[in-house]
Amino acid sequence: MDEFEPQIIAFACNWCTYAAADLAGTSRIHYPPNVRIVRVMCSGMVSPMYVFKAFEGGADGVIVAGCNYTDCHYIDGPVKCDAMFTRLKKMVHVLGLEDERLRHEMISTSEGVIFARVVEEMVEQLKKLGPSPFKVRAEALV
C-alpha cells in the first residue's frame, strides 16, 4: 500500500501568509505538496464554518494563518482570528478530533522559510495520526 499522504487545507491571509507562501516558492524552498492554500483577505474573516467545511470535505488537517498582531492590513484581524480560534479549538476538542489537526500560525510576508517549516511539521504529525476519521466516511459515501 502507498504511504498515506495527508491533505491539508491552509487558510492564508492575502497580505502576509499568502505572500510568505509565494516567497517560499520563488526562493525555491522545498516543502511537501500536501497543502492546498485558500487565500482569504484576512485571517480575521475565517469563521469556524470554513474549518468544519474543510473537515466535512475530507481534509486531514487545517491551518489558519495570518499576519502578526502589528502587521494587520485591517488593524485588528489577528485579534479576531485569535478569539475565533480559541473557541474553535474547544469545539473541535469536544467533537473528539485530535488537537494536532488544527493549527494557528502567524507568518509574516518575509517568512517563507517558516511557512515551509510549518507545513513540513504538520505533514509529519498528520502522517503519525493517520487519515481524518471524517475522511474515511467521506470516501465511503461516494
Binding site: S47, F52, K53, R87, M91, V94, P133, F134
Partner: protein, 382 residues
C-alpha cells in the same frame, strides 16, 4: 414525497383562508413578506416553486401559535417541516446563523465514528452519576453551545450541572452517557432528514444498550424530538420526561424542601415545552413551591406566549431581534427582576438581544435571565 402528499398529510386542503395564522404569526407581525396563509394558498394552487424557492420558508419559527388557533386544524408546522425537505432536495437552505457552525457540528457528529470529549465538565465537581442507573440525563448540545456562545455569554453547561445537582438531591444518580449525540431536532426541522435519521438511530441504540428506563431532559427541544419525532423513525423503549415534570411530580408525591429565594419572577413558556407538548403547569407549580418567589405573568403567557424569535439557528434577522426586544419589554413591564425560562435556546436568544440591542434600548430590556433548573438548584441548597 411531493407537494400533493404534503397537502394530504397536513390537511392543508381544509384551509378557509381566514388569515388567523398570519395575524397571529410573530414573524408576519414584523415581516410583511412572510405570511403562513399565502404559503398555504400557494400550496393549494400548486405553485410548488413559490414555496420551494422561497427563502422565507425557513423563517417559520414552528412555534405552533398558528396551529393552535387554526379553525380548520391545518398542521402548518408539519407542512413547513415537510416543505423544507422538498426545498433541501432542491438545494435550498435558510440563512444559517453563527456561520452554520452548529449545523456543521451536527453533520460531523452524525458522520463521526469518534469518541467525543463531551463530559470534561463533569470531572471537576463531585456530582454523583452511575453507569448502571435506570435514569439517564440527556445533555444534548450543551457542551457545544458553550464555546459557540462564549462571547454572549451564555453558560449552557451551568444548566446541565444544575440538573445533575437537582437530580442528586432528589436521590437520583443518573447515567450521563459519554457517547450521546445531538438529538437531531435542528436537522429535522431544517429538512435534513438523512442527518436526523443517523442521529436518532445512534441515540436509540445507545439508550437500548445501556438499558435505561427513563430519560430526563432539561432542554425542551430534545424532549420534544424524543417524544414526538423519534417514534416515527426508531424504536425507543423508555419513558421520556422533562425535569420540570419530574420536579412537579415529586412535589405532589413527597413534597420538596426549598430554601427561601426572594425574587419577583416571570416565566417564559418555551414553544417546544408549552405549545408543542402542552406543559404549562409543571414549571409554574415548581416556581410557586419555592418560598419567596413571587410569580407574575406577562401579558402574553401560556398558549399565547411569544417565541424567543429564532428556531434552529436559521434566518435570524432584524425581525427576530424585534420579537425578542418586544418580549423582553413585556417581561420588564411586569416589574419582575428575573425572567425564568426552561429552554437553553430561549436564554441564548434573549441574552443575544440584550448584548446586541442593549446599546439602543438600554436598561429597558436588561433583565436577569435564569433557567428554571438553576433556580431550583440554588434553592435546594447544597
Amino acid at each position: 414525497m411531493n407537494l400533493e402528499d404534503i397537502i394530504q398529510e397536513t390537511k392543508t386542503y381544509y384551509c378557509l383562508e381566514c388569515g388567523k395564522c398570519s395575524s397571529l404569526c410573530p414573524i408576519s407581525r414584523y415581516d410583511p413578506q412572510y405570511s403562513p396563509r399565502v404559503m398555504i394558498e400557494n400550496a393549494l394552487l400548486g405553485f410548488e416553486d413559490e414555496i420551494v424557492y422561497n427563502k422565507k420558508l425557513f423563517s417559520c419559527l414552528t412555534c405552533y401559535t398558528c396551529q393552535l388557533k387554526c379553525p380548520s386544524d391545518v398542521d402548518y408546522p408539519l407542512f413547513i417541516q415537510k416543505a423544507r425537505v422538498l426545498a433541501t432536495a432542491a438545494g435550498q437552505h435558510g440563512d444559517y446563523a453563527h456561520s452554520a457552525t452548529l449545523q456543521s457540528i451536527a453533520m460531523l457528529m452524525a458522520r463521526s465514528p469518534l469518541k467525543q470529549n463531551r463530559l470534561e465538565w463533569l470531572k471537576k465537581d463531585g456530582y454523583r452519576t452511575s453507569e448502571k442507573s435506570d435514569v439517564m440525563l440527556f445533555i444534548g448540545c450543551s457542551p457545544y453551545f458553550e464555546p459557540v456562545f462564549e462571547d454572549i455569554p451564555v453558560r449552557t453547561l451551568n444548566i446541565a450541572e444544575a440538573s445533575l445537582k437537582v437530580l442528586n438531591s432528589l436521590g437520583i444518580e443518573p447515567l450521563v452517557h459519554p457517547d450521546e449525540k445531538c438529538c437531531g431536532h435542528d436537522a429535522l426541522w431544517m429538512g435534513d432528514v438523512e442527518t436526523f435519521k443517523k442521529l436518532a438511530e445512534h441515540n436509540a441504540a445507545i439508550i437500548k444498550e445501556s438499558g435505561v428506563k427513563k430519560v430526563i431532559f432539561f432542554c425542551p427541544e430534545g424532549y420534544r424530538t424524543f417524544k414526538l419525532d423519534y417514534p416515527d423513525y426508531v424504536k425507543l423503549d423508555c419513558e421520556v420526561m422533562h425535569i420540570s415534570e419530574l420536579l412537579a411530580q415529586r412535589l405532589e408525591t413527597e413534597g420538596l424542601r426549598f430554601n427561601e429565594v426572594k425574587r419577583k419572577a416571570t416565566y417564559q413558556d418555551p414553544c417546544r415545552l408549552g405549545r408543542h407538548l402542552g406543559i404549562y403547569d409543571a414549571p409554574r407549580k415548581v416556581l410557586q413551591a419555592i418560598p419567596g418567589i413571587e410569580l407574575v405573568e406577562m401579558e402574553h403567557n401560556r398558549e399565547e406566549s411569544i417565541c424567543c424569535g429564532t428556531s434552529c439557528f436559521t434566518n435570524c434577522d432584524s425581525y427576530s431581534k424585534q420579537i425578542r426586544v418586544e418580549r423582553l419589554l413585556e417581561a420588564k413591564a411586569t416589574g419582575a427582576e428575573t425572567l425564568i425560562t426552561s429552554c437553553p435556546k430561549c436564554q441564548t436568544h434573549f441574552r443575544c438581544a440584550m448584548v446586541n440591542k442593549g446599546e439602543e434600548k438600554g436598561p429597558d430590556i436588561e433583565i436577569e435571565l435564569m433557567d428554571l433548573v438553576n433556580l431550583v438548584a440554588t434553592s435546594l441548597g447544597g
